[in-house]
Amino acid sequence: MAAARRLKRVVASQPGFLNFKSSSESLSGRRKRVNKNKKKSWNKHSDINDVEEFLEDVRLQERTTGGLLAEKSDDSLFFLDVGQPKRAERKAAEPIEGKKRKGKTPRPLRIDLILQQDSLIPAPKDVLAYQQPNAKKLRRISQKAEQLAAKGVVTRRQKRLLSRRPVTKEAKKSDTEANNNPNRDYYDIWGQEQSTVKDSAEDWYLQQTGKKRVKRPEKLSDRPSVLPAVEVIAPGGSYNPDFFSHQALLKEAHEVEVKKQKEEDKLERQLAVNKDDTATEETVIREQVEGLVEEEEEEEEDEEEAAHDEEDEDAEGGSSLAKKKTERQRKREKADKIKELRRLDSKRQMDHRQQLFQLRSIKASIKQQEQSTEDKQKIRKANQEAEKSQPRRLGKLKFQAQDLEVQLSDELAGSLRQLKPEGSVLKDRFKSLQKRNLIEPRERAKFKRRHKLKYVEKRAFRAIT
């Protein structure tokens, strides 16, 4: 290494030598007196820039061109320019350059190009990377193992490893036993009918140990509603409906809308203010003046009072003349009473007798009553049946029927491809469950804060306001 350096220094000092770099300016000026004999001062006070420059130059040449320029042959550095090159060569050159790679390999990334080695000197081999501690020992061991295997001998350690059971990674129990495991398997749940033959002893045992299944109440097997699970839409709901059925469906939807509109109108009418009730100036003044205007009214009132008093006195006068009852009067009253009783008695008997002749009309009236009760019964039963198909009121909210799914005439698609589906099946199923009394209608739970929010101004704002 030192010899090579010495050679380069000698070459650099030759007079005809050409540098790539221009020589830097030599440092001039006063120099401090230093002792150059000590190693300490060699680094600080010796100027080796020229050597360094030369060496850098040499290295640059080697990196870029792969060797010293002076050692290269003439042909590799220069060429003889003989005018324009041939057309064919040019054409051959251009398409190769301009051609974008159509094939499988895409253009290389710029970062890859940047990170490539662009020096013509290969990087030195990292010996440490290839070094392996204990390489000899390991090599020896593996050779021995190969020899033993070739002979067929199995070492004790290998025997133990082979006899170990392999580890089977079980799938998570929670996943396989979960209800919605997509690969779960089913079995014949209705197959084992032979368990109906019950042993009485076993029955007692199960009951005593608390393992007997509780019987399901029979009422639970009744359906909560008579409505079918899936209600097919009317024929007007077809994607390409017949004219009249479509009109019928539109009519139904229209009626629903009319009903809604009527209710809204009714509300508005109820809330509407009558024009007559608005206060005019007259009424305002009258109201304000009430009770303040006295004289005329008082006179009228006095007259009326006087008239009332006289009438009362007359009536009182009549009642004050009542006297004690005489004997005669008492006897007469008794006789009257007896007569009255007898009259009533005879009347009753007469009625009894006459009822014989009234049999027919009595029959008619009875029949009529029965008929009316029957009619009422029928109507009540019909109402009950109708109610059965209505959704029951199961909770706080009433059941809201969903809107009819209808497509207007201009929304109807001409073909299956252009069909735009109407309504959501998810919502339809949800409402059907509510309609059949399987769940109660509920609304989304609102977010209620436990503690009230407190708003505080920031200090900065407080300073401003």
Partner: protein, 557 residues
């Protein structure tokens, strides 16, 4: 006061009911847990007849449950699991707060879970009970399978729902159980007949999604939990009834057929037809046989036809429906996995497109709009393809769930379809009418005095009259296209019989008593009014059609 006096609200209906909050406290559960438990066990609130009594004098609206139900709930083992889960959540929160990650792991691995199998067995003790409740379950599962896999509800639930719905659809395909389909603006309604039960369910469109805010997702998720369990067990049982393997493999594309355990299932079905039930009359037996034959014919509606679905048609729905009736179906490979053949296949008979014009035309296949498939299924015959070509205004898609009574307005398309149904089977038509005549005569002989039967006869003859009129009308139209001399012969004996019947009817009317006549007049008045209205509507429709035709001519010029 004295101890012997009766206190109010201690006896009677008050003692049968309990408010929701009291019930919750009795069970020591939180409100969401209580609601979940009630939904899972099938315990619903009741509205008492005399609310004021039960509410102890106040009229505040409260939710009431029967005390017996709540006492039954106390014995439920799931209640313990709910409480365990609450404890688990508390412990987990603590571990998170203290950042003890090993504890979190450990707790997560031992998360308490519960199973609903015993609840299903208790609520639906027999398989038929479960089948009756499957409508709701299917709707929920189909709905959840169309949800997007965001975090709103467990992704596992959505996957499970998807798996169950695909299994169900494959069962319906294998059992050829589908009967009616209706495309509405809400979604697609299907009706299938499984083990004698008519099951209707609604499938929403794949591309519609708005998540309304006023729907309680927790409640829906709880229902879905219950229903997925139920549907899984039902699927298992149904597959075993058809001798198919459960769980089936690789079904998501709906184009593969299911592996069979024993292939003799179909033979068994064919033999069942021949066993007559004892004690039945000949006509009823014949009627049933006819129905079965029709059903068999309907099941093979698309047998031998090969379909290809273009990209823009609803692939799942159409694939399901076509395969239910025996057709083969495929689609472009890039749309979804499981396509069996490509566009270029020569043997494709029908290519289903929804665009106004098709790109490349192959010669020996029909290019039709998807409504043709659905209309064929509802009409139970293969309809003529001309009305459904690309660019043609489609006839309206009628609802198969509407049963029109005689005298009601029937849209002309339906009349045409019925005519086609009859036109395609002229021999069977004779048998039908002869049987009907026999029925009528027998009934008349047996029950002369009762009014109701007379009315039935009249109804039937009225129905026949109307049908005759419509048939004549439609045949009048169709005669222009096809000349069938055979049909003309058939009419004469029928007409004679018809006249005889009419005479007998007139005699019967003359012989009625005054009161009966009065009732009969009232009924006929109502019927005639309906018929008059129906005629009015048809006249209107005709005028509308004529006007449209005139308009079209004008625009063409």
């Amino acid at each position: 006061m004295g101890g012997l006096q009766k206190k109010k609200y201690e006896r009677g209906s008050v003692t049968n009911y309990i408010t929701r909050n009291k019930a919750r406290k009795k069970l020591r559960l939180s409100l969401p847990d209580f609601r979940r438990l009630c939904i899972l066990k099938g315990i619903y609130p009741h509205e008492p007849k005399h609310k004021k009594k039960v509410n102890k004098g106040s009229t505040a609206p409260r939710t009431f449950y029967l005390i017996k139900d709540i006492r039954f709930l106390l014995h439920e083992p799931i209640v313990g699991k709910f409480r365990d889960y609450k404890v688990f959540v508390r412990k987990l929160k603590k571990a998170y707060g203290k950042t003890e990650w090993s504890a979190v792991e450990r707790l997560r691995e031992n998360k308490p879970t519960y199973k609903l199998d015993h609840i299903i067995k208790e609520r639906y003790p027999s398989f038929i009970d479960a089948l009756r409740d499957i409508d709701d379950a299917l709707c929920m599962c189909f709905l959840f399978s169309t949800f997007a896999r965001t975090g709103k509800c467990h992704v596992q639930t959505i996957q499970l729902c998807r798996r169950l719905t695909v299994e169900w659809m494959n069962y319906v395909v294998a059992a050829r159980a589908l009967r009616k389909v209706f495309i509405s603006i809400k979604g697609i309604y299907y009706q299938a007949e499984v083990m004698g039960q008519l099951i209707t369910w609604l499938v929403p469109y794949q591309f519609s999604h708005d998540h309304p805010t006023d729907v309680d997702y927790r409640v829906m998720a709880t229902f879905t939990e219950l229903y997925t369990t139920l549907l899984g067990f039902i699927n298992f049982r149904l597959y075993h009834s058809l001798n198919l393997l459960y769980p089936p493999k690789k079904l998501s594309a709906l184009s593969a057929s299911l592996a069979r355990m024993v292939s003799s299932a179909e033979e068994e079905e064919a033999q069942l037809d021949q066993f007559p039930v004892e004690g039945e009359d000949m006509e009823k037996l014949e009627a049933r046989e006819r129905e079965q034959k029709e059903q068999e014919a309907q099941k093979k509606l698309f047998d031998g036809l090969k379909f290809f679905l273009n990209r823009e048609v609803p692939r799942e729905s159409l694939a399901f429906v076509i395969r239910c009736f025996g057709g083969e179906v495929s689609w472009d490979k890039s749309v979804c996995i499981g396509s069996t053949y490509e566009v270029t296949e020569e043997t494709i008979t029908h290519h289903i497109v929804d665009r106004p014009n098709a790109s490349t035309q192959y010669i020996n296949r029909y290019y039709i709009q998807p409504q043709w498939v659905y209309d064929c299924i509802n009409a139970k015959i293969v309809l003529p393809v001309e009305d459904y070509f690309l660019g043609v205004t489609l006839p309206p898609h009628l609802s198969p769930f509407v049963e029109e009574k005689e005298g009601d307005y029937m849209p002309p398309e339906k009349v045409k379809i019925m005519a086609l149904q009859r036109g395609e089977k002229p021999e069977q038509e004779d048998e039908e009418e002869e049987d009907e005549d026999e029925d009528e005569e027998e009934e008349e002989d047996d029950n002369d005095d009762e009014e109701e039967d007379e009315e039935e006869d009249e109804e039937e003859s009225e129905e026949k009259n109307l049908k005759k009129m419509e048939k004549q009308r439609s045949q009048g139209k169709s005669l222009q296209v096809k000349v069938t001399p055979g049909k003309m012969k058939v009419e004469n004996p029928e007409r004679l019989e018809q006249e005889e019947k009419a005479e007998e009817k007139r005699l019967a009317i003359m012989m009625m008593k005054k009161k009966e006549k009065y009732l009969y007049d009232k009924i006929m008045f109502g019927k005639k009014r309906k018929i008059r209205e129906a005629n009015k509507l048809t006249a209107k429709r005709k005028a509308h059609d004529d006007a449209e035709k005139a308009n079209k001519k004008k625009t063409r010029k």
